[in-house]
Amino acid sequence: MAEYKEYRGMCVVGECKKYYGTDDAKVIHEEPKGVEIKNVHLHDAVIVGAGLAGMYAALELKKAGYDVAVLTKVFPTRSHSGAAQGGISAALANLEEDHIEWHFFDTVKGSDYLGDQDAIEMMVKEAPRIIYEYEHMGVPFSRTPDGKIMQRYFGGHVKDFGRGGPVLRACMAADRTGHVLLHTLWEQCVKYNVRFYSEFFLLSLIIKSGKCIGVTVWDLINGGIHVFQGKAILLATGGYGRCYSITSNSHANTADGLGVVMRAGLPLEDMEFVQFHPSGLAFLGVLLTEGARGEGGYLINNEGERFMKRYAPEKMELAPRDVVSRAMWAEIEAGRGINGQQYVYLDLRHLGAQKIMERLPQIREISMKLLGIDPIKEPVPVQPTAHYSMGGIPTDICCRVLADGKEKWLEGLWAAGECACVSVHGANRLGTNSLLDASVHGKRAGKDMAAYLSTNPPYEVLPEDCALDAIKQIEWLLNNPGTERPGAIRKELQENMYNLCGVFRRKEDLEKMYNIIKDLQRRYKNILVQDKGAKFNTDLMEALELRNLLETAEVIVASALNRTESRGAHYRRDYPNRDDENWLKHTLAWRTEEGVKFDYKPVVITRFKPEERKY
């Protein structure tokens, strides 16, 4: 026991007794001046990120008998998968007729035909099995009267290849679906003794002769750099919503995985596609689940009109997210926002108190606690919020990271979940498909990594300078005598991104945004980290995150400027139509010193030929 010093008899201060796994680690480096390498850890598999994808992969590897380490910058149950509310889709047909093919079609159509159909087909086929596996793990799903898993309606999920009405496909646990899946996976990881290293921040990939052999991370609690060497490395680091001021994403969703991938010289895919969720709580961006519309909520403008009838007369509020977000933004631009501001109303009052409290308890709690508004009595102000990143690290359908973005696997490296682009979501993701994507691909990555490990690849010898860049970066941040604070730069980035590279985009705005980012990157060189300590230095962490945000935002804006068409979530005011002739292809973007370079790869089309996407 460490000695604790008393403070007013209540708070005690003292050493953290965290366990760092020194038994299987050896120190092989001399301590560099200033920042030190604390440890080199050796594991069969190293996973960065402990959301659904990371933990599912960890479970698969552990069950296959491999030694796996899961690194996360937060404690596993704090991951952002837990914030998902509405559901996880699978054609279980528990309440009414449904087919995997319908789910397949809806996902392809939802993606505005940019999703790769081989990957989508595999995902929707795997969906029912994943749900049953979750149930067997102990997920407390809501139940139908006959005891099966409860399913609800969700935008974009319909019957009969888009021809029928909405279908009950989203498996749910009240409106805490992500929360129960995340906690259940964590519970299973505890059961199987998965080794977590919580509160470690990813700094760089270690790549040696075209092979990924490890990562360097910063130990947030004690300070110091750790090297994790493995034969199979998985990035499951989540999305990049924090590039925007109004976002549903956690403070932690800062594109850390994408940052290290770009700095390793690898491309990113389809970064221009950022989904804006229609029902973000006004001013905050915190999400109110689409389930609220699924249960029958109305969107109304300042004239009290259900304006969706002019944009999607059949599906109304249940049209896909991009369609609804654009309709809202168009209303706002036409001056029909409430009080002339950037929001409209989500009205749930007609559902009645009982239904709201039973089916949407969290929605009510959030609006009451964060805005002081009770949806039983008043309509809730909502505005489009940056929600999901369709783009990411290019992978094949086994989640292997593609070094050239097309075919060549970067041996030893996988990516899964929101940070990856398989691509199953194409230009726009359907609601409930994100939990499915993270679970299916987490599992698939885990299986593929286990298969790779079973071939007994050798451990490579770590290069002497493997952590040099990471050390230099930290030393520079801690000692830079600058004047710019991370918070101020980040605020400028986020607010401008929301206004200039948001729901609607145009050439002038994007060019302006690109210059703003370049300017902010220059200012970043003059950054000041006020906290100089090693232990739990969150000021340092925010500065590291900001670099990832700035570099990722640059690729988003450049890709958006490059794609001169409108498709799915990417809407160019100056190019309002989809252009299949020139743009039915994935963007690959390399960030270089001379700007962003582009290449393309074709979309995999197997079954459904592109047609106009109407709802």
Partner: protein, 235 residues
């Protein structure tokens, strides 16, 4: 807009012998939560202030702290609801402080690991189908499965302050979440842990945990239900 005084607990393990209180005077915008104020201070006033935060809407459980003497999530505490312009913010009590408002949660997690926090089954599940559970049986989990592991309950428990081996409301609520699940078959394994002087019998029904829980759950009720379950099992 109004000026508020934030009295925040500070402790830097590399500099300070013990904790101290630092005052910040800031203008608070309407609708701000305590987390908004902390963010403002960190981003624009004093970058050394340290605290955990992530989702900022009460689901990740990162920002549990003691605000004006009461445990809660900073992200869900409306400043105006506190009814005063002087606000003290301290780290969760009962856990060792790592830095400022950040505490070492490992003791909390250790208690969770002890009660085997996962569904234990012996009967194999049906192939390619879910196990059935009636809505009535599922309803028995309401008020138990929603826990976000923020630690506010255990940190508020005087019994836990006095007995650091007490499993505490958090772990016992989690135990109830499984013991009352119709699918669970881990009764013996789990009860052997909680039927102990540091388990359900240590609780003095002080009800602090009920008041502290930001998710409005009732760990004391769960503990009482567990006692009944154990006693019934012994009859």
């Amino acid at each position: 807009m109004a000026e508020y005084v934030f009295k925040i607990f500070r402790y830097d393990p590399e500099k300070d012998e013990t904790g101290r209180v630092q005052e910040y005077r800031i203008d608070v915008q309407p609708g701000w939560t305590v987390l908004d104020a902390l963010n403002y201070i960190k981003w624009f006033v004093d970058g050394t202030l340290s605290y955990r935060r992530a989702c900022r809407h009460g689901i990740c459980g990162s920002c549990g702290m003691t605000i004006n003497g009461k445990n809660g999530l900073a992200c869900e505490t409306q400043i105006k609801d506190l009814g005063t312009t002087v606000i003290t913010v301290e780290p969760l009590r009962g856990f060792p402080v790592i830095k400022d408002l950040i505490v070492d949660m490992e003791p909390l997690y250790d208690k969770l690991y002890a009660i085997k926090p996962y569904l234990i089954t012996k009967t194999p599940p049906p192939t390619d189908k879910e196990r059935l559970q009636s809505p009535e049986d599922r309803a028995k989990l309401d008020g138990k499965y929603e826990c976000i592991l923020c630690g506010c309950c255990t940190s508020s428990c005087p019994t836990y302050w006095a007995d650091k081996n007490f499993l505490g409301p958090n772990a016992l609520l989690k135990a109830a979440r499984f013991l009352f699940d119709s699918r669970d078959e881990g009764y013996e394994e789990r009860v052997s842990v909680i039927d102990d002087k540091h388990g359900v019998w240590r609780c003095h029904t002080i009800f602090n945990c009920v008041e502290a829980c930001p998710k409005e759950l009732n760990p004391t009720q769960a503990i009482v239900d567990l006692r009944k379950l154990i006693l019934r099992g012994k009859l």
